[in-house]
């Protein structure tokens, strides 16, 4: 046991002495979370819109006010004719234009039907879609108010309700995804690099000749990163909670236990990578390409799995982060208990066991 502790101590020395390792371990997660949380958010805030009002009556004024006061939009241009819309889009002054037909207010009050046109700059289809949805929602809210005020039944109401994330806050999606991404990368990449480094410098031979058992070498390599990754997980959750207001509706202990399981799985994947990689560079490349891209693209972090082609859906099933993201979303946002995530937990456990078994076998083979 003393042998093992001497080894773990050495690993900590390596980590604390190398500022690059420290930056990757603690700087990267925080930076990434802040970037994803603040910059790459897909919620709408202060989008520029233009208005072409042929009617200029009480109703068009009120609708315009409602849009602007919602916080989603800023009125950048008041246009005079249709031709200006195109110019306005081209100049990038607005992403969306709203056109009220002549006599909008009169028609609305007399016939109960009035037309307005929403024109969005669809060169960026996602945000165009989102902007137009937001606009429609605000307009139908206005119509609803009118109806309540006794103007009689006017235009059909369309109500949408966003379950679990009423504000459609992007950060609710990004925190679980980022957490999976970071834990996966750090745990797997760092362990594979540190083991590959021993091989590269030749110290691995010395370790293998020493009375340390292979399993002790592996555990000794992994133990510091287990601790540090766990601290990372807590930092990420705390950032999500305090900075982004992400709720933790379910059990915190269950959440931490699941995080620990995921870290263990990622660490064993790192060991597996290190049994294949002969140098630090190779280990890094494998970690980056085999882990980073699939985690971003296939885990449901950015693109919904349901929308993927079937073959990619199958592929995403073997991505561990996919299951972890489901677990943390369930626990944090829906407040569900273990009964609702046992299947995903089981999958992660099996993956971890498989990685460990294969890498211990491979590690032994190296000794032959």
């Amino acid at each position: 046991m003393n042998r093992f502790f001497a080894f773990v101590k050495k690993e900590f020395l390596h980590i604390f002495r190398d500022y690059r390792t420290m930056i990757i371990l603690f700087g990267m997660p925080i930076a990434q979370l802040l970037i994803f949380g603040f910059v790459i958010s897909n919620e709408i805030r202060d989008a520029h819109i233009a208005i072409l009002d042929h009617s200029k009556d009480e109703h068009t004024q009120k609708i315009t006010e409602k849009l602007v006061s919602s916080g989603y939009f800023i009125l950048s241009d008041e246009l005079k004719n249709e031709n200006e819309i195109d110019a306005c889009f081209r100049a990038g002054n607005a992403k969306l234009a709203l056109v009220f037909e002549p006599g909008f207010g009169r028609l609305l009050e007399k016939t109960g039907k009035a037309n307005l046109q929403i024109i969005a700059d669809a060169s960026d289809p996602n945000s165009a879609e989102m902007l137009s949805n937001y606009t429609q929602a605000i307009i139908s809210a206005y119509i609803k108010d009118l109806n309540m005020a006794g103007y009689g039944n006017k235009i059909i109401r369309a109500e949408t309700r966003m379950q679990f994330n009423p504000g459609l806050k992007g950060v609710f999606m990004f925190v679980p995804g980022t957490m999976a991404l970071i834990l996966m990368l750090i745990s797997a990449m760092m362990t594979s690099i540190t083991i590959a480094r021993e091989k590269e410098t030749g110290t691995m031979e010395v370790l293998l000749i020493s009375p340390l058992r292979p399993i002790q070498i592996i555990l000794g390599k992994v133990a510091p990163y287990l601790l540090l990754s766990f601290i990372n997980a807590i930092v990420i959750l705390a950032l999500g909670f305090f900075v982004f207001g992400l709720p933790i509706r379910g059990s915190l202990i269950l959440l931490l236990a699941e995080s620990m399981l995921f870290i263990l799985m990622a660490l064993s994947l790192g060991i597996l990578i290190s049994t294949v990689a002969k140098s630090q560079q190779v280990a890094m490349f494998i970690s980056m390409f085999a882990l980073l891209l699939p985690t971003m693209l296939l885990s449901g972090f950015i693109f919904p799995i349901e929308n993927m082609p079937v073959i990619l859906q199958y592929l995403s099933a073997i991505m561990p982060p996919r299951w972890f993201i489901v677990i943390i979303k369930n626990i944090m946002l829906k407040g569900t208990g273990f009964l609702f995530v046992w299947k995903e937990t089981l999958i992660l456990t099996l993956m971890a066991i498989a990685f460990v078994v294969v890498s211990v076998k491979k590690f032994k083979l190296r000794l032959e």
Binding site: N2, R3, F5, A6, F7, K9, K10, L13, H14, R17, D18, T201, G202, T203, E205, V206, L207, L208, I209, S210, P211, L212, L367, E368
Partner: protein, 246 residues
């Protein structure tokens, strides 16, 4: 080393064969190493020296044959062997980002030495190498020759019965090499058996007995003087050239 019959056998190798696929890296090696001697393993690159030393030190398993190290069978008691040997390779085996002291403490630790003993030996070792002032320097900051001497001292820190040195003086200047051999002689005085591979022929002269490997076989095995007589050569270099060309 004249009265070899009284000598206690510490490494016993009989018909050792190591194959990598079809390639036979070690062909039918037979030799004994006696307690307290410096046994040299000579040969060109690719002659099978490193393969043999890896088998003896437990890094690799033989394909067939009998191999006993420090009285233990490599097939059955690999763990016992590990506790009784030290190892230093041509690839430098200390951690560059740890200090001299931390490296010593680490190796002592993984060989299960007690903290107090490690402290004592660290002190002793550093004063012997005249490196006491450098105890807290990172390995990366000290010259290669010193690293090499330090690596050797660390490999015998736990007083193993046998120390395996795989081309320990690669890339070191002749003066440092000479100092390095002084350390080896000191270890031998402490009763440690030294098994060393090298391709420097001048180093072969320092060994008590030398075996010369050619193409995975042991082509000759005797004392340096015995070999020179046998092949009518003036130096070990001539002996080696004669064997290699044969």
């Amino acid at each position: 080393m004249k009265e070899q019959d009284d000598k206690q056998i510490i490494i016993h190798v009989d018909n050792l064969v190591k194959k990598f696929g079809d390639f036979e890296a070690n062909k039918d090696l037979c030799f004994d190493v006696y307690k307290g001697e410096i046994f040299g393993f000579l040969g060109a690159n690719g002659a099978g020296k490193t393969t043999a030393i890896k088998i003896l030190s437990g890094l690799s398993s033989p394909t067939s044959g009998i191999v006993e190290v420090a009285g233990f069978d490599v097939y059955k008691n690999a763990d016992d062997i590990k506790r009784n040997i030290g190892y230093m390779s041509q690839k430098f085996s200390l951690y560059e980002d740890l200090t001299v002291k931390e490296n010593i403490r680490f190796y002592g630790g993984i060989y299960g030495m007690r903290a107090k003993l490690i402290k004592e030996r660290t002190h002793e070792l550093l004063s012997r190498l005249e490196m006491t002032d450098y105890a807290d320097k990172l390995i990366a900051e000290i010259p290669l020759g010193w690293k090499q001497k330090l690596a050797f001292s660390v490999a015998v820190l736990h007083r193993p019965k046998i120390v395996f040195l795989d081309e320990p003086t690669g890339g070191v200047d002749p003066i440092t090499r000479r100092q390095f051999w002084d350390l080896i002689y000191e270890a031998v005085e402490d009763g440690i058996t030294v098994f060393v591979t090298t391709h420097y022929m001048d180093e072969a002269e320092y060994c008590h007995r030398v075996s010369i490997m050619v193409d995975g076989r042991i082509a000759a095995l005797d004392t340096p003087d015995g070999l020179k007589q046998q092949y009518g050569a003036g130096s070990m270099n001539d002996v080696f050239l004669k064997l290699a060309r044969a």
